[in-house]
């Protein structure tokens, strides 16, 4: 249970960071986000994305424009709000720190594992 909870928390934070990163590249459609996330193996099904997007939007990090589509109903294209951009910059810093911290913390252990395997 504790493991699950930790995993969920970790993934949740990273997922939001990734979504913000993807959208920061420009106006993005939900299925494009999904495609990228699938490539990164972070998310498998689309249905999970919509609540997340809605929540980020409600927190003022995202906004969207309606764009007419040739295939089906009008699409929502998401863009980062200035606030979202500021948050993303903060997250970039945090991630760099975290990445460094994790890498440093794991270095010794990886070494031990490897050496054990080698023997």
């Amino acid at each position: 249970m504790i493991v699950e909870n930790t995993q969920t928390q970790m993934r949740k934070g990273i997922l939001e960071y990734c979504i913000l990163s993807i959208i920061s590249k420009g106006e993005t459609y939900a299925s494009d986000i999904i495609a990228d996330l699938k490539k990164a193996r972070l998310l498998v099904v689309e249905g999970t994305l919509y609540p997340l997007l809605t929540r980020l939007k409600n927190n003022g990090l995202l906004s969207y424009n309606w764009v007419e589509s040739t295939s089906g109903p009008p699409r929502k294209y998401y863009v980062l709000s200035p606030e979202g951009r500021a948050v993303l910059e903060q997250l970039d810093t945090t991630w760099a720190e975290l990445s460094f911290a994790v890498q440093t913390a794991l270095e010794g252990r990886n070494h031990i594992n490897l050496t054990k395997k080698d023997i």
Binding site: E4, T8, Q9, R11, K12, L15, A30, S31, L43, V44, V45, E46, G47, T48, L49, Y50, P51, L52, L53, T54, R55, N58, S69, S71, G72, P73, R75, K76
Partner: protein, 542 residues
């Protein structure tokens, strides 16, 4: 060949096969329920619907076809992810509070549509507590019979508890077995969910009003099913009962009718029939028979038609029956009015009989036990030959239908002479016929020494009609006269002459007679000394 349905997803129209539609509908219901408690449930589900519409469009364009089949829906769902996927990926921890759909083995309270008698509330409860549905139904039935509370609870549960629509619901409904603690926790959660949905009645995706509307349509849907199923059985049983009752009454009326026609001449002097004029009686019997018989027949035929789907009553037959019935009704009304007319006027006359005095001023009032026979009757039954020296006793139950027509009153008189005033009265169409009716009636009274014998009833000569003939007897006695009244006369006495009270005062509750004495204040009970009590017994001993 498959049936297709046209659906509209947020403005885009699709042709979809029926099976595929069922799958899609169940999926969307699951999704909507999953997000029902989220803040932006409408927005999220709309996004998902839009995306599904887009995927459909792409599929149709890619495969150059026009109809969506089950495979397409399955493909879209796998891409979008099922509700279980939403759960396990746990991408949005906010969804944890959507307690509707966590598959941790806890049971959820749903109405069971697969095992329902009415709406599946009982089956759902049975599933939830893992007890046999029969007991739940029994408990509800009992609660309903006792105070009707079962019905109220049932309707409330019907409205609040959701129906298990999808496979996921049904799985949740029949989850793993619960231990006691798990049950308690689960119940609290359930309660919270219910409270939550009641609190959010206005903002929730399914407002309470809609829930109620759904309940109403659901109610009639299940009522129809109930009538079609178990109710049908009750109805049939009810129908058989009605039919049997009708049949019984029909047979009774036919037998009665035939008896009246055959034996009518023998009973016309017995009370209810002696009201009818002889010439009218047969036609009245026919009318009355039709009046009773036709509605019974109609009820029986209607029952057959409605409950057993028989086509037992044609339109023309029904009209014929109605016409005959109306004719019978008017016949009966006409003759009833005619007979009633013969009660229009009233006449009365009185005659006085002097009672011979006795030595000690004591009179015994008794009822005549001997049956009164007319001269013709005597001859016919050969009374003198066969019953010589014997007494034919009057049968008390004889003709009890006849209204009481003799009453006895005792008054104080100022003269020494004891007299009996007989006042006859009767009704008739005019005064003279009323008077004639009164004169025709016969009343037998006799005196032997101190014993005054009264007949039980007024006699009407054979062949005469009942026209409310009555006789009021008034025994006028002076001060100091003792009357020893037989119990048998008790119910012929007018005005508070209470034999029972008097016997109680004399401490002789089982005695056949009660003594009274005429005082200045009228007739009073005579509380006896021992010697007088013996005097009462004496005449009985004779």
């Amino acid at each position: 060949m498959n049936k297709t349905i046209i659906i509209n997803i947020n403005g885009t129209v699709f042709h979809i096969e029926e099976d595929a539609y069922e799958v899609l509908k169940n999926y969307m219901t699951d999704v909507k329920r999953h997000f029902a408690d989220a803040e932006d449930s409408l927005e999220i589900t709309t996004d998902i619907e839009n995306r599904i519409a887009e995927m459909f469009t792409e599929i149709l364009a890619a495969e150059a076809k026009q109809v969506i089949v089950t495979a397409d829906v399955t493909k879209v769902i796998s891409q979008m992810g099922t509700v279980e996927d939403f759960e396990t990926s746990a991408a949005d921890p906010d969804n944890i509070y959507t307690a509707h759909q966590n598959f941790t083995g806890n049971r959820k309270l749903f109405r069971d549509p697969d095992d329902h008698l009415i709406s599946g509330v009982c089956a759902g409860i049975g599933n939830y507590f893992d007890i046999d549905t029969v007991w739940v139904r029994l408990a509800f039935g009992l609660a309903f019979v006792l105070w009707g509370s079962g019905l109220l609870l049932y309707i409330i549960l019907w409205i609040i508890v959701p129906k298990a629509v999808t496979r996921a619901d049904k799985m949740a409904m029949k989850g793993e077995k619960l231990d006691l603690q798990g049950f308690k926790k689960n119940f609290e959660e359930e309660l919270k969910t219910v409270q939550h949905s009641v609190r959010n009645a206005h903002t929730a995706a399914r407002p309470f009003v809609y829930q109620f509307r759904d309940f109403i349509s659901d109610f009639f849907h299940h009522l129809r099913l109930f009538i079609g199923g178990a109710g049908r059985l009750f109805l049939k049983f009810f129908g058989v009962v009605i039919l049997l009752m009708c049949l019984g009454f029909i047979i009774a009326s036919i037998v009665g009718f035939i008896c009246l026609l055959v034996y009518g001449n023998d009973v016309y002097h017995v009370f209810p029939f002696s009201v009818l004029n002889y010439g009218y009686s047969n036609i009245l019997y026919v009318g009355a028979f039709a009046l009773v018989f036709i509605p019974l027949l109609a009820i029986a035929l209607l029952t057959i038609r409605v409950i057993f789907n028989g086509n037992a009553l044609g339109r023309s037959t029904a009209y014929t029956m109605l016409i005959i019935w109306v004719c019978a009704l008017s016949l009966v009304v006409y003759y009833s009015a005619k007979i009633t007319g013969q009660f229009r006027d009233e006449a009365s006359f009185s005659q006085t009989i002097n009672i011979k005095p006795t030595k000690n001023n004591v009179y015994h009032l008794t009822l005549n036990d001997v049956k009164y026979l007319t001269r013709e009757d005597s001859l016919q039954m050969d009374i003198n030959g066969k019953f010589n020296g014997r007494i034919i006793l009057d049968d008390r139950r004889d003709n009890d239908m006849m209204p009481r027509n003799v009453s006895i009153d005792i008054e104080r008189s100022d003269v020494k002479q004891v007299v009996l005033v007989e006042s006859f009265s009767a009704k008739g169409a005019q005064y003279d016929s009323a008077l004639k009716n009164a004169q025709n009636s016969i009343y037998n009274f006799s005196q032997r020494d101190s014993v005054l014998t009264f007949d039980r009833r007024l006699l009407l000569p054979k062949g005469s009609l009942w026209r409310d003939q009555q006789v009021e007897l008034t025994l006028k006695v002076p001060y100091g006269v003792t009357l020893i009244i037989d119990e048998d006369l008790a119910n012929m006495m007018r005005r508070g002459i209470n034999l029972w009270d008097c016997k109680q005062q004399n401490h002789t509750p089982d005695a056949q007679t009660a003594p009274f004495i005429m005082t200045n204040d009228g007739l009073q009970c005579k509380v006896d000394t021992l010697s007088q009590a013996q005097a009462i017994i004496e005449p009985d001993a004779k």
